[in-house]
Amino acid sequence: MIELYVLLAAMIIAALVAIEIKDLLAAAVALGIVGFSVAIMFILLQAPDLAIVQIVVETLTVVFFAAVILRTTNSDTTVGGFRRELVLPTVVYVGFGLLFLLVAGQAMAGLPGFGNPTMLVAREYIALGLERTGAGNVVAAIILDFRGYDTLGEVTVLFTAVVGVLTIMRRAGRKGQGAEGRG
């Protein structure tokens, strides 16, 4: 499992780059690196379904980011250099983070050990998946048959977001309102 840890380290470094680098386009690319590392991680975790979806979603996310950044600006004037007003929030936040990790560590001691899931319902899905739904891919059997209602919800969230994007991109929200401030 050494490659898992190497990937995790790479992800954390890329994440730090993504939140600190000055150029927004580069930050979006760094975000893409994190996303693709997640996809590789999914392959290592024996989840090919997730890996495929993560790859295509990540590509699309970077395309969306690039589309927005190219239409607006890619320079971020708010990062870089030492800022006095950021010292206090950062210290407070680091304190909060350490506390969170401590509490989460306590809590995670109660989880079943890593690599030994309980698989209470999962066992039934695996046993019944092919016979009861006819699908060889157990994940597909779960998302579209056993828990198809969730997928209806998922598709609806996507539909909501699409309608939401179209709503927000209207030229003017109110009648008689000019297209002020646009260039």
Partner: protein
């Protein structure tokens, strides 16, 4: 266990950007990081040592060492929801830029309280 901690660390990095950064695009990037971290955490939960993907390729195949398929199904949904929210946030960010000509939230803040 270390993998789960690394996930939470990634979550904290993303949350840091959301809380302290002042550039809208940077906040969205931070939010995406939080999302990845939670998805990865959920996927790690279903991992099984020496497991194989839960896909039956031929009849009569042994299914005893399949990894847990449930987190995979749920994370799939969560990834799609994440894409949807990111797209909506980007649309809002773009319209805000068109109105205010900046991504800096300290220059945008017109609402009080």
């Amino acid at each position: 266990m270390i993998a789960l901690f690394a996930c939470l660390l990634l979550l904290l990095i993303g949350l840091y950007a959301v809380v302290t950064k002042r550039n809208i695009i940077r906040i969205i990037i931070g939010f995406s990081l939080v999302e990845y971290a939670v998805n990865l955490f959920f996927a790690l939960v279903g991992f099984k040592h020496n497991g194989i993907p839960p896909i039956i390729t031929h009849l009569g195949q042994s299914r005893s060492n399949f990894v847990d398929p449930v987190p995979q199904a749920l994370v799939l949904t969560a990834i799609v929801i994440g894409l949807a929210t990111t797209a909506l946030m980007l649309a809002l960010a773009m319209r805000i830029y068109e109105k205010y000509r900046t991504f800096d939230i300290t220059e945008i803040r017109r609402l009080k309280g």
